[in-house]
């Protein structure tokens, strides 16, 4: 075990490679395309290479980015839009709507943000589904939320909202509160309409009802089914017990988290983030507070950074333990989940001692954390660090070495690294294919570069390997927690910065210059300078990113949450074709998704 002293003051934040190089490369390929680099007025506060391009040049540009560059941007990380109609701080490029493509090149370890401006009267843009298969759902979401039409999209229908929904909710003109709308009623005819809209029409998805000698059976798995882990529906086209094709249907857990971001103060939005990946607890706060800190230019003290890492790793263990148990249960082993719940219970006890809450502590704050560690915290953590590895050894025999479980999961639901990246898979699902892509190593944040840990990988990318990777990650998390324990820096747990929330109160009764900012920051919340930033962390289920746009106000102008589970579910049909129903259940279990993380 590593006990050597770690020096967090050496820690350096990771930076993207220089933006100019990639733009020169693109211009060399496309001399005729007008690429406008983001200007100072665009207020991009992260170092992601950002440029504007005209709509008619988008497809040619994407062709180069995806296929013709020497190291192409293979991962479509996110596609989203911003309704700019009420934006005050805007560059000359900004029109009524902006569609923003966030692409990643794992080979370069670089991001690229492409922005396209659209006007209110012509909200159409070519689809990029041909280049990145996982763009499909992102484009459907943008259409659903903003009414932007993607030309050439294979199936542009609503994805998060019900098919009967009127309007596009993330438009600024769409009301965010029930008090701004008419009272909700559900007369009988409307109920019939809603039910009718939920009926599955195979023809709409290009599916056939018969084939030569067989009639296919369409089985509706979910949204209430013990193995879909939440309100998730998959319609299976089956020939006997074999799955011919399937259509995942999401949106049953949609709560409008992004819309709420435009209504809550920067500070009061933190509890909403906890409930995105509801098994991730403070892991959700992490990218959000880091994004706000980057907008405000807050430097977080070392102690806060290390405490953040420690609690985030605890939640990684909590989430993985639940995955481990439910995965075994999906394959039919009923007992492991109960043992793992005991381990989780002990860890929740520690979280409770730290934060006062268990699953959703909302404990990180802009500029630090809510409270310092309690007295005697290290005894609690030490006990747990010594306790868990022995339990994991037992589970190894009980679950991972069980021959029935191996027969059920090895070689099942397998995909290659290339397929994983094509479909936007991140996290353990990507590492199980043998590709060691972990943001904590590749792009260290919050001081992860000072820690000594390994990135476990699999080899086959099947259900078994996805479980194996998570099991090993728990051991690595224990290592990280142990290093936090042995090297916890002294000092403040909150930054001394005017926008730190809640602000420092100690001097408020002695001078008016402390009292007034305190009063304003507490009552209105901090006012964050105008800017745009995207911050990603290696969350429990993959890469989670917050893309925040501030218009210099006390609330966010646009909160975009890029969650890992969303693209993961999109890949289900690729894995499910040709499987038996039982294999599909094992595959679903191995993906480890949370519907709140998908639907937001």
């Amino acid at each position: 075990m590593n006990n050597s002293a770690l020096n967090f003051s050496n820690s350096k934040d990771w930076h993207q490679p220089h933006a100019a190089a990639i733009f020169n490369e693109l211009r060399a390929h496309l001399p005729d395309v007008r690429l406008t680099e983001a200007s100072l007025l665009d207020n991009i506060r992260d170092d992601t290479a950002t440029c504007w391009v005209d709509r008619q040049d988008l497809v040619t540009l994407m062709q180069v980015i995806r296929h013709e560059l020497s190291m192409p941007f293979t991962l479509c990380f996110d596609i989203t839009a911003i309704d700019e109609t009420e934006r005050e701080y805007r560059s000359e490029q900004v029109s009524d709507f902006t569609v923003s493509y966030h692409l990643v090149s794992p080979d370069r370890n670089q991001d690229l943000r492409i922005k396209v401006a659209l006007t209110k009267d012509d909200k159409t843009i070519p689809s990029v589904c041909l280049y990145w298969p996982n763009a499909n759902w992102y484009e459907r979401e943008v259409w659903d939320m903003f009414g932007i039409v993607f030309q050439g999209h294979p199936h542009l229908t609503r994805i998060l909202m019900p098919h009967t929904w009127q309007g596009h909710p993330l438009l600024k003109v769409h009301p965010a509160r029930a008090t701004e709308m008419d009272p909700f009623t559900l007369p009988a005819y409307k109920q019939d309409e809603e039910q009718e809209a939920l009926k599955f029409q195979p023809e709409a998805w290009g599916m056939k009802r018969q084939h030569e000698n067989t009639d296919f059976m369409f089985l509706n798995l979910g949204p209430n089914h013990p193995s879909v882990h939440g309100a998730f529906r998959i319609v299976l086209q089956m020939d006997g017990e074999e799955i011919v094709d399937c259509v995942p249907d999401i949106g049953y857990h949609h709560r409008g988290a992004e819309k709420m971001g435009e209504r809550q103060s920067w500070h009061s939005y933190i509890p909403y983030t906890d409930r995105i990946d509801y098994l991730g607890g403070v892991m959700n706060n992490f990218p959000y507070v880091m994004a706000v800190e980057q907008l405000a230019g807050i430097q977080v003290p070392d102690r806060a950074k290390v405490i953040r890492i420690m609690t985030a790793e605890m939640f990684r263990i909590l989430s993985h333990l639940l995955f481990y148990g439910t995965f075994a249960q999906d394959v039919g082993a009923l007992s492991p989940i109960f043992y793992m719940f005991i381990d989780r219970e002990k860890l929740f006890g520690i979280i409770e001692a730290f934060t006062g809450a268990r699953m959703h502590p909302s404990w990180f704050r802009i500029g630090g954390i809510a409270s310092d560690l309690p007295k005697g915290w290290n005894t609690l953590v030490r006990e747990y660090v010594n306790y868990l590895p022995a339990r994991l050894d037992q589970y190894e025999k009980m679950v991972m070495q069980n021959s029935i479980l191996k027969a059920r999961t090895q070689g099942i639901g397998a995909y290659s690294t290339q397929e994983a990246i094509d479909w936007g898979i991140t996290g353990p699902g990507l590492r199980a294919t043998g590709f060691a892509w972990d943001l904590r190593k590749q792009r260290p944040y919050s001081g992860y570069d000072q820690f000594d840990f390994d990135v476990p990988t699999g080899a086959n990318g099947d259900c078994y390997d996805r479980c194996r990777v998570r099991v090993e990650e728990m051991r690595q998390s224990i290592r990280i927690i142990e290093q936090c324990l042995n090297n916890m820096p002294e000092g403040p747990y909150k930054a001394e910065h005017p926008q730190t929330t809640p602000p420092d109160k100690s001097k408020t009764m002695t001078d008016i210059d402390s009292l007034i900012p305190h009063f304003i920051n507490v009552s209105w919340g901090p006012r964050i300078p105008a800017g745009e930033v995207s911050v990603a962390v290696e969350a429990t289920k993959g890469i989670m990113a917050y893309h925040l746009v501030s218009d210099g106000s006390t609330i966010s102008y646009r909160t975009r949450i890029r969650t890992p589970s969303f693209p993961h579910l999109q890949m289900i049909p690729v894995m499910a074709r040709g499987q038996m129903v039982a294999d599909l259940i094992a595959t679903l279990g191995s993906i480890d998704y949370v519907m709140a993380d998908v639907d937001r």
């Binding site: 089985l219 013990p226 075994a328 007992s335 005991i342 027969a407 059920r408």
Partner: protein, 323 residues
């Protein structure tokens, strides 16, 4: 008193005992699994929660007797009854002790196998009559699974029949006075027990009702008393397979010399059966569930050859008068 009346009284007593035993078994299972899974299990109704099953039974009796509008009414109602009746019928030929036996059939073992085969109809018909896709899949699985495993179950017992020279269960027990058949028929026992688990749809062979895949499989649409009958059938099935294991391979009520005087034969029988019942429960907590095709593959590729080999070797050794 005429013989018929005595038989009727015996049957009544047997029923009055078996059904509460099945109900108690539910409680025993839940408590045991609770202990093995580091939790308590039902412990509130009565001392140690023993009355839990009866509370559940009361609740079930109070439920609406509902048949889904899309189901085939007659078959839907009949299916659970067939299941429970077939299992109960098998108990008629079981010798619990030298004196406690309802029907001393000379083809007792065949009667048991026949009833086990008939019990499949319960599951298949339930799956079909429910007119629901999940139930249908469960019914299909049950049909394939039970038909396959029936073959080896029958074959695995032929060794015992060879050795005892009779299909009569009492005679089979008595033939074990100088050594239980488990000694010579170990392979037969293993095959029989595995097939028995498959017949009673218990984990790891609970595919017809695999809740993570088919919600509840063939009984998805069932509720109230009709559901309770399925439940009763399953737990009686567990008891039955345990009883048959004891009768066929573990000497029934017999015990070796010094031990046989310690307890009455019936108690020894109960003790042995309890051991197997607990083993059933432990299996459920310990193992994951194989996939449907793996289960069938295992049956035809491993179990069938094993059962045949066992029969051949037993026959050969009997011919050579080694056994």
């Amino acid at each position: 008193m005429p013989d018929n009346v005595i038989k009727l009284i015996q049957i009544t007593i047997m029923l009055a005992l078996l059904i509460p035993i099945a109900a108690m078994l539910v409680w025993v299972e839940r408590r045991l699994i609770g202990i093995w899974q580091d939790r308590l299990g039902p412990n509130r109704v009565g001392p140690f929660g023993v009355l839990q099953s009866f509370a559940d039974l009361l609740k079930i009796l109070g439920k609406e007797d509902w048949v889904p509008p899309f189901a085939d009414k007659l078959v839907f109602v009949l299916a659970p009854v067939i299941g429970a009746v077939c299992v109960l019928m098998s108990f008629a030929v079981l010798p619990f002790s030298p004196d406690i036996l309802i029907a001393d059939l000379n083809i007792g073992l065949l009667f048991f196998l026949a009833m086990a085969s008939l019990a499949v109809y319960s599951v298949v018909l339930a799956g079909w009559a429910s007119n629901s896709k999940y139930a249908l899949l469960g019914g299909m699985r049950a049909a394939a699974q039970t038909v396959s495993y029936e073959v080896f179950m029958g074959l695995s017992l032929m060794g015992v029949v060879l050795l005892a020279g009779s299909f009569n269960l009492t005679e089979i027990v008595l033939a074990q006075q100088h050594g239980w058949f488990i000694q010579s028929q170990f392979v037969g026992f293993v095959v029989f027990f595995i097939a028995g688990i498959a017949e009673s749809h218990r984990l790891p062979f609970d595919l017809p009702e695999a809740e993570t895949e088919l919600t509840a499989g063939f009984h998805t649409e069932y509720s109230g008393l009709k559901f309770a009958l399925f439940f009763l059938g399953e737990y009686l099935g567990v008891t039955l397979i345990s009883c048959m294991s004891v009768v066929l391979f573990f000497g029934g009520w017999l015990m070796p010399e010094p031990l046989d005087n310690w307890l009455p034969p019936f108690m020894w029988f109960v003790l042995k059966v309890s051991f197997f019942v607990v083993f059933f429960i432990l299996l459920r907590t310990a193992l994951p569930r194989p996939r449907f095709d793996q289960l069938l593959g295992f049956g035809w590729k491993v179990m069938l050859p094993l059962a045949l080999l066992n029969l051949l070797v037993t026959a050969l050794l009997s011919l050579l008068e080694v056994l």
